[in-house]
């Protein structure tokens, strides 16, 4: 716009022909207001200096809570730990049943019924 259009100069003249003077009482009022101590509003959250932080903090807390609640759901059921291995043999004609029970803390446990 730094072109020197004569119409711009004419418009500036017309616009600037209307002028208001700052009222002296207004200026005095502003200076008096500037000197007066501003009343401090009591914060409902004195530990949080700015209320603007409450929004991100609360949303972050909601996300964290949702994460903690949903993690067990997404994790699914874990496979059960094998506590023993049973191997059974049945000799029907001799009415014998052989059961091998293998446990982690026992090498082999043999049960004959």
């Amino acid at each position: 716009m730094e072109t020197h259009d004569p119409f711009d100069e004419e418009l500036k003249e017309l616009v600037r022909s209307v002028e208001r003077i700052v009222p002296s009482d207004l200026e005095a009022k502003v200076r008096a207001e500037a000197k007066a101590p501003r009343p401090q509003l009591k914060s409902r959250f004195p530990f949080i200096r700015r209320r603007i932080f409450i929004v991100p903090l609360s949303s972050a807390a909601a996300v964290l809570l949702a994460f903690l609640l949903l993690v067990p759901l997404f994790r699914g059921r874990q496979a059960p730990v094998i506590t023993e291995i049973r191997t059974e043999f049945e000799l029907a004609d001799k009415n014998i049943k052989i059961i091998f029970i293998q446990k982690p803390d026992f090498p082999v446990l043999l049960t004959v019924i």
Binding site: M1, E2, D5, P6, F7, D8, E10, L11, K12, E13, L14, V15, R16, S17, V18, E19, R20, I21, V22, P23, L26, E27, K29, V30, R31, E33, A34
Partner: protein, 191 residues
């Protein structure tokens, strides 16, 4: 010892000088007298900008007062290397924007003829037409119009004050100029 320190760290002297300068600026910025001294030459221009951007609303005095008080309150954040007038007018722009955001009823006043300087009485109808046109603009466009034609800011400065990109400022001003050319008739503004 001091010299030896600077000899090992050639930039240390500059860094210390900058820190001292920043400290002295901060002290200076905390002084309200400095603010009033800096604001003094722009006060009249600022007052007229607010008045005109708000269509001489009865609330424009309050906005002017709030602009100065806010400027004083945040004067410590003003950087010396930037233009004071641009900084102050940017505060005024925010205050005007806030005013229009919370506006519930129009408090604008008709353009008083007594405001028009005596020398321009012959152009009274043209002045009226220009201000009638300005009143038809959106608040932000009106601000840009008066920042350029009344306050005398450049496009770059208006962009800094209002946060509108320079290209858009040029576009808004160009459209306003063309509209006014049509409104004011064939004898005006034809180079």
């Amino acid at each position: 010892m001091e010299n030896a320190r600077f000899a090992y760290f050639p930039n240390l002297e500059k860094i210390l000088n900058d820190a001292e300068a920043m400290e002295s600026f901060a002290k200076l910025n905390a002084d309200p007298r400095v603010f009033w001294d800096l604001a003094e030459p722009h006060k009249q221009r600022l007052y007229n900008f607010i008045q005109k951007s708000m269509s001489f609303s009865t609330e424009s005095d309050d906005v002017f007062q709030e602009t100065l008080l806010r400027g004083l309150r945040y004067f410590a954040s003003y950087h010396r290397e930037k233009s004071f007038s641009t900084w102050l007018f940017a505060i005024a722009h925010n205050e005007i924007r806030k005013h229009f955001k919370n506006l519930h009823r129009d408090m604008s006043l008709p353009l008083a003829e007594s405001l028009i300087r005596g020398a321009e009485q012959t152009n009274l109808h043209l002045v009226r037409e220009v201000y009638r046109f300005a009143d038809s603009l959106k608040p932000k466009h009106k601000e840009i119009f008066f920042l350029f034609y009344d306050s005398g800011f450049s496009v770059a400065e208006i962009s800094r004050v209002t946060g509108v990109r320079e290209g858009n400022v040029k576009f808004i001003l160009n459209r306003a100029r063309n509209s006014l050319r049509e409104r004011l008739g064939a004898n005006h503004g034809n180079p």
